[in-house]
């Protein structure tokens, strides 16, 4: 066994004269929706969990599952190994359930204020106005407020609904798969999520079915002093294919808000799951006040032979991001991929990366991580490649690139490798660069202005990852980066 921990530390490189650090950033999703809400008062104990479970009309087994997770959580310390500076979270000050008062029975009954909210965010819920070929589940604070294109999906045999509904309508599937990838006691935040999760999306693609459209969930935090604890479960049976995308935004608020999600993916034999994230939670202001704490556990299980799971993420938001979408390569010849762009600006902090666990023979994984730091932000890549004893001929390729804009930001790389099989080949490449004076002057001397030059250089840097996103979201991601970098150069 060989093990390596490398910290190619704090490359707080010298500034370029041409890349000054004037700041200012527009966050267009920062508005608040005025709507009558109902919910639980702040505080967390067994009664809170029983109350939450009762509101959601859950069966007894679900309540017990939650309580077991809660009791486990009480025994766990909050992890502090990430390279993040974070104020202590007062779990008793958070409300664990907030929902619009009027519960809609179908899309037609959704409160107009909510429809308008999603419209403003560019996610129209009216099916006639919706993006062609994309079904949306909209989660507002603690509940799903609507899911589009359900009929068309049902005809194909696909189940796409909120997690609450799945627990009531498809208990056998939920019981079989929930917690089978991320067990209740997996880690501190996963245990908390298991105890108090309120909603999220459930996707089931039966054997041999290629999902006829892109599925997506749009998460919105609106209420104050509320945590969002969503739980998403995607199961692709033998030979099934699905592409899923999530988007996230929240209003501008001065206090930090907690988002602790768990996402589980299960791919059976020959199944393929592609999971893309465009994360734009409120990042806090230019002085580091407010913003979302995004503490998320995402894991996929390539349970069957020849299955494939790929994660693609574009992370521009959140005050703090703590997130490692992982793949357990259990089936022989299974494939795991992770493509990531993480951008931090002002005082944002990101500690993000992936884990690839090779168990099956001839398994392959590929990691492409692009970190961009601007302002006074810190951006870390943390990745684990683990090859178990039986993983004959496992292959991993990791590419980890950092780009620095300005002189007060930091980029850090923490790659861990544990290889227990001598036939495995594990490759790691890492680069750190900055937008150089030379590149800026070259662009400007050809007539391209400063902001456009930075956008162009950053876009080129991220190209490998953008290629992996569904077309319309690649365009959105590119725009998001441009907005996020506004004011990064003077």
């Amino acid at each position: 066994m060989s093990s390596a921990t490398i910290d190619s530390t704090s490359t707080a490189l010298r500034d370029n004269a041409g890349v000054a650090e004037a700041l200012g950033r527009s966050y267009s999703a920062g508005f608040v929706t005025e709507i009558e809400m109902t919910g639980l008062p702040p505080g967390l104990d067994e009664e809170t969990i029983r109350a939450l479970s009762a509101i959601k009309r859950e069966p007894e087994w679900m309540t017990e599952w939650r309580l077991k997770a809660y009791r486990h959580w009480l025994t766990m310390p909050q992890p502090d190994w990430a390279k993040l500076k974070m104020d202590a979270i007062d779990y008793q000050a958070i409300s664990y359930y907030a929902a619009p008062k009027k519960a809609p029975k179908s899309l037609d009954e959704v409160d107009p204020a909510l429809l308008e909210t999603y419209e403003k965010l560019g996610v129209p819920l009216h099916e006639r106005a919706a993006l062609a070929g994309v079904a949306v589940d909209a989660v507002f604070d603690s509940v799903s407020v609507g899911t589009t294109f359900r009929k068309q999906l049902a005809e194909a045999g696909v189940i796409f609904c909120s997690m609450s509904e799945a627990i009531r309508e498809h208990p056998e599937l939920v019981q079989q798969y929930l917690g089978s990838v991320v067990p209740t006691g997996d880690n501190f935040f996963a245990a908390l999520n298991s105890a108090v999760f309120s909603d999220g999306s459930f996707v089931f693609i039966p054997k041999g079915v290629r999902c006829p459209m892109e599925l997506s969930t749009y998460f919105r935090i609106n209420a104050q002093n509320t945590g969002q604890f969503e739980r998403t479960l995607i199961v692709a049976e033998e030979g099934a294919h699905v592409s899923y995308l999530e988007g996230c935004t929240a209003p501008k608020r001065d206090e930090n808000q907690l988002h602790a999600a768990v996402v589980e993916l299960v791919a059976l034999e020959r199944a393929q799951i592609k999971y893309s994230t465009v994360q734009n939670w409120y990042p806090g202001d230019e002085n580091g006040v407010g913003g979302i704490y995004n503490l998320v556990t995402k894991r996929g299980d390539c349970r069957g032979d020849d299955s494939k799971i790929s994660w693609t993420q574009v992370e521009t938001g959140s005050a703090i991001t703590w997130k490692y979408p992982s793949v357990v390569l259990r089936g022989d010849r299974s494939v795991g991929e992770f493509h990531s762009v993480a951008l931090t600006h002002h005082y944002q902090q990101a500690d993000t990366g992936t884990k690839m666990i090779h168990i099956g023979k001839d398994t392959k994984s590929k990691i492409v991580s692009k970190g961009i730091s601007a302002g006074k932000s810190n951006n870390s890549y943390r990745g684990l490649v683990k090859v178990e004893k039986g993983a004959e001929r496992a292959r991993n390729y990791t590419q980890c690139d950092s780009l620095l804009i300005g002189k007060r930001c930091g980029a850090h790389t923490f790659p861990y490798m544990e290889v227990k099989n001598p036939t495995a080949i594990v490759e790691h490449e890492a680069t750190t660069s900055k937008i150089s004076d030379d590149q800026m002057f070259y662009c400007r001397s050809r007539g391209i202005g400063e902001e456009d030059a930075v956008s162009m250089i950053v876009d080129g840097f991220c190209k490998q990852v953008f290629r992996e996103l569904p077309m319309e979201f690649a365009v959105e991601a590119k725009k998001l980066l441009e907005v996020s970098l506004e004011g990064a150069v003077g």
């Binding site: 004269a17 041409g18 150089s436 004076d437 030379d438 590149q439 002057f441 070259y442 662009c443 400007r444 001397s445 050809r446 007539g447 391209i448 202005g449 400063e450 456009d452 162009m456 250089i457 876009d459 080129g460 840097f461 991220c462 190209k463 490998q464």
Partner: protein
């Protein structure tokens, strides 16, 4: 079109240009020669507006405008082009995309209509013929993985496409073998016109065998110390820069 008067400039606190004066009329080709450290590249960088080059006195007037007051991108839009001695790599940014962004940014400033991709492609095809470079270079990222010769040819291709009024070639011949040198020179010659002026900065005379200058200036110690026609370049080649430094008779004459 270009009038440089008594130009003094500093780099990192050190004075490099010490009273340089030069006049260039439309359509003329001026060669600037000189030993290492004379201030040749500084001149190119000052004219195109690179950061870190501080002009302490003197003036540069370009078509009646104070050139030094303009940002680099504004100088480009006004028709100033610098062919880099060391062209810069921009990974992941497609060469064609870069060129179109540059051309359209310039056109926008000049109040001209921007070109769509079809119109641009047509223009590229025309220019490719003139420059004799393979269109394979256009599909790659800007200068990424280009050989030295490819980078320089790409510079000349950019020049052909952007159609500047004042082209500054900063040691475009350095690092080129004789075949690549000829190709680059052919490209430059094809672009010579009564409206377009060139400043050809070079250390060696050999480039001037292929690009015939109207005037040759010798830059030494931050000033033009000698001006003449193309025969001056040949004299330099024969006697070396030591002769200029001493401001004396050619060394061979007294031997």
């Amino acid at each position: 079109m270009l009038k440089i008067e008594n130009l003094h400039a500093r780099v990192a606190g050190k004075e490099i240009l010490k009273g340089l004066s030069l006049s260039v009329n439309a359509g003329e080709v001026h060669a600037i020669m000189g030993p290492n450290g004379a201030g040749k590249s500084t001149l190119g960088n000052v004219l195109s507006g690179r950061d870190g080059y501080e002009v302490t006195s003197g003036s540069v007037t370009y078509n009646g405008v104070d050139l030094l007051a303009l940002e680099p991108e504004a100088r480009a839009a006004a028709g100033v082009f610098l062919a880099f001695q060391y062209p810069v790599e921009i990974p992941g940014v497609n060469n064609t995309y870069f060129l179109r962004a540059a051309l359209n940014a310039q056109r926008k400033v000049r109040g001209e209509k921007e070109l769509d991709s079809m119109q641009f492609l047509k223009l590229v095809r025309e220019k490719l013929k003139v420059m004799q470079i393979s269109d394979e270079l256009l599909h790659r990222a800007v200068n990424e993985g280009f050989s030295g010769g490819e980078k320089k040819r790409n510079e000349i291709f950019q020049m052909a496409l952007l159609e500047p009024k004042l082209a500054i070639l900063d040691e475009t011949d350095s690092g080129l073998d004789i075949d690549a040198l000829k190709q680059v020179a052919q490209g430059v010659n094809a672009l010579r016109s009564p409206e377009r002026s060139f400043l050809v900065i070079t250390h060696y005379q050999r480039l001037l065998d292929y690009i015939e200058p109207d005037f040759v200036h010798v830059l030494a110690g931050g000033r033009i110390v000698e001006s003449g026609d193309k025969t001056l370049a040949l004299k330099l080649e024969e006697h070396g820069y030591a002769w200029v430094r001493e401001h004396g008779e050619p060394a061979g004459a007294t031997a």
